[in-house]
Amino acid sequence: MVKIDLEGVSKRFGSVIAVDNVSLSVSSGELFVLLGPSGCGKTTILRIIAGLETPTSGRVYFDGVDVTDMPSGKRGVGMVFQSYAVWPHMKVYDNIALPLRIKKLPQSEIDARVRSAARMLNIENLLERYPFQLSGGEKQRVAVARAIAVEPRVLLMDEPLSNLDALLRVQARAEIKRLQRELKITTIYVTHDQVEAMALADRIAVMNKGRVMQVGTVDEVYNKPLNRFVAHFIGSSMNFVEGTITDRGVDIGFALIPYSSVPDELVGKKVSVGIRPEDIYLEPIQGGVVLKGRVVLIENLASEYIIHIDVSGTLLRAKTKLYPQGEEVRLYIHPSKVHVFDTITENRIHIA
Amino acid sequence: YMFTRPPMEKPVIRILFASTQLAPPAEQAFMVELLTEFYKETGIDVSFLPFGYVDIANKLEAEIKAGRITVSLVGGLSTEIDFFASKGLLEDLGRFGALGGRTFLEAAIRAVEDHKKIYGITTFVPWMTATFVVVINNKAFDYLPSGLTKDDVVKGTERWTWDAMLAWAKNIYEKTGKRLVGLPAGAGGLLHRLLHGYLYVSYTGYQAQKFNSPEAVQMWGLLKELWRYSHPESTTWSAMADPLLKEDVWLAWDHTARVISALKTSPEKFTVAPVPKGPVGRGYIVVLAGLAIPKGAPNQEEAWKLVEFLTRPSTQARIAERVGFFPVVSEATPAITDPGVKKIAEGVTAQLGARDSIAVAIPPLGGKAGDFIAIYREAFERIVLKGEDIGAVLSGLEPKLKAIFAELKMPEP
């Protein structure tokens, strides 16, 4: 129920710029996901919001109130630390209960909350253990349980499920989402798992080298990446082909991707053209451009295949559930699924 | 010790001088300095060897038994020499004749005489002395009680009694509101000496014999009274120099070595007086160090030369100034240059020379010394500090005191 705003926040550690002039707005009750490569500053942003780190410059607002200098404990945040930070001298139960005791909740309420959080994360049978008696994933779940049990106004989760198996992760993710919705907790969620990001996020921010590259819904980020970095980073790794804009579309050497209304000023521009493997079809689609190629390699991912195809010397990867029949194949690409970026600025060129 | 010896010209005679005194390093250094001068003068090279008292006894005994004696001269307290003599370890010094140009003090002569009476020989030559005195801040003289003059105090006349001191302290207290008598009743203090060697002797004539007697009860009564005018911090003081200097106290009784620094710092402030007397006399302890020659020692003539050197007034004066032991010859005092030391030396001379004085020595009790002291200190604690009944305390402690002397088969002093 808190709206969080970052205004030009930067953080330097000596000569390292961990966060570089980030401005963000997280709506009240939103589940906001931070995505980005390792070392891009996600943890640092969470820590700044939590009040564990003072930004070198810039301000943080909760509901419009400047909290940049407010001590951490007063901000009403709950946090899952990337390193868990489970207190080693307390049993799991006490780890989860301590923040509640601090809040002077009645004993019965504390017990109920601890057990419900433990149930959500499948650690009910571990409540009497000490952290050193837990496996990595179990410890991580304790950290998550501790953060959600306090039902904070703001929930900050730093890769909370990275050490869990797929099944449990889906389950835990669903529980977190439910709780978050129910209590309308403004949540900022760091993850490396794009499926998780997409399943959870109201909106996503994609970061790189301390900067925010794009903020938007899953669809926006996936379908309209603002620059080459985002396009490359989101989804399975994109095929890139160099090309030139002509008045009829984009010429990528071995094919022309037709666009009807190309603005004159763009004509002749060198561009990088990105196509996702999953947007390359082996069966005909409506309005698709046809390419001819030769299958070079087939990777079996159990439920689907990555097919490496040589198209006039350029290697493209296509993701498909169908095993290709024969070596020579026809590929179909829809112009609306083709992303065009300026070769120099790497920014998206809107073209249709 | 590194000091450069002068080049050897004539054949050097070496003698060993073993001493229980002046063992502390700085005093040793002083002795080495002194003996270097002696060497320059006589060509006799003396090695000064500080030893424990038991060690010297063992060494002498062993050497005499073996017939190979190395030590030519022994320095020690009169009581220690008494012990050596009792074992027949010493030469008779009578044969060396008198030492000219110096007058030994009354008390020193008496000690030598005492030994002669027991052993029939002159066991030692007095070397140096220390005793307890009363140091007075000159301001106190403004508060003398009626019937007591400054002269009485300084000269130690008939009127300078413990009662007079009490009256004086009381007068000071009434006029200034302050308790200005100081006694060394702290952990390392020598209060017990005041008890057995001064007050008891002055009131009963003995240190221990009349421990529990009406005279003793009277004495304790006086002390209890005196305590009321004594500085309360006395129980933490082991030496009076500091309280005197800070003017926490005006009248203080203590060992010469423990007040000397005050007098060295501000000689003009203080007067040193002999101790007051009691009904029986002016009881006091004299600590006397003497020089003796072991039986059959080598180079006895050279040793005697050293004795002569060490008892010369000029040497004595220097010893007083450097190590705080006082001269045993009256000619030495005027030779002292430091005004503070000189003041004390005068006090000591006055005390040792006083006619009505009863000099006593600390009884040589060996391992029982601690128990002996403890009895007096316990009496003080219980009677004076805790206010217990004097008679009861004394009767309770008396058997223990007697037991000590009984066990050692010694007469009670």
Binding site: A85 | E233, T235
Partner: protein, 279 residues
């Protein structure tokens, strides 16, 4: 190290040190016992029936029971304070630790001089008109205040040791744990109670043991500040050994010190057993 063979390696490695233990540690200990226990009358019996025992027990307990807790508390707060990085921190820290470098006898003398009736404190208070007559801290009549002076001196002199140990412990606490506490709203007191103290238990234990040990051995300052009239175990040892020349009884008192130390040490270890999880 899993192997059953390897389990013996420590033993083999330290065979010499075990011999050392057996001989050089056990023998002297037995020697003290024999000195203290045998004799006629047995010095230990003498001590246990001595009228001073009560007094000694009282003063020893009083001093130990006030000085050590005070030191632990001060050291904990000082450590918390010095964990903040502030300008001039190093200087203040050194100043705080400085008394360590002062000999205990010297320290006692300084405090004696400062608190004595003609000392600095009284002069200051009189000159500023706060009091008109000096406050006496020393002397048999003011033994309560003397105890206060002993307390102050000991705290002044020996707290830095406790501090050094506890500070080292606090510095070892992983920042994560404290940050988690901050985030979850624990205030300073709660952080202290729930996170810091449990985690530094082994250090508090070490500090307690070392301090108790030394507090039980303090002699010089007590003689200086209180004369003979505040008797504790350690002053009895010195008294019997060097004033009464009775090594037997001195040993018996020393043995008592040893026993009390072991007893308290055991107590600390028991009370401060680290929570199972704290590594």
């Amino acid at each position: 190290m899993p192997s059953p063979l390897r389990k013996h390696i420590p033993y083999i490695l330290v065979a010499p040190s075990l011999a050392y233990l057996a001989f050089f540690i056990s023998y002297p200990i037995f020697y003290t016992f024999s000195l203290a226990l045998f004799g006629n009358p047995s010095p230990m019996v003498e001590v246990m029936t001595s009228p001073r025992l009560g007094e000694v027990a009282l003063y020893t307990t009083l001093i130990i029971a006030t000085v050590i807790p005070a030191q632990i508390v001060i050291a904990i707060f000082a450590s918390l304070f010095f964990l903040n990085r502030f300008r001039g921190r190093e200087l203040v820290l050194y100043l705080f630790i400085a008394p360590l470098a002062i000999n205990e006898v010297a320290a006692a003398l300084i405090w004696y001089t400062m608190l004595s009736s003609s000392g600095f404190l009284n002069k200051l208070l009189i000159n500023t008109g706060v009091i008109s007559a000096p406050i006496y801290f020393f002397g048999y009549e003011f033994i309560d205040r003397t105890l206060l002076a002993i307390f102050l001196t000991e705290v002044w002199r020996a707290t830095p040791i406790v501090f050094i140990i506890i500070y080292a412990g606090m510095q070892m606490i992983s920042r994560d744990y404290l940050e988690a506490a901050d985030v979850f709203g624990l205030n300073l007191w709660q952080k202290l109670r729930y996170i810091i103290l449990p985690l530094i238990k082994p250090y508090i234990q070490t500090a307690l043991i070392i301090r108790t040990l030394f507090a039980l051995q303090v002699v010089g300052p007590i003689f200086i500040l209180a004369g003979e009239y505040v008797r504790v175990l350690a002053t009895e040892v010195v008294y019997w050994y060097s004033m009464r020349l009775n090594p037997g009884v001195a040993s018996a008192w020393a043995l008592l010190i040893g026993l009390v130390t072991l007893l308290l040490g055991g107590l600390y270890i028991k009370l401060l057993r680290p929570s199972a999880g704290a590594t």
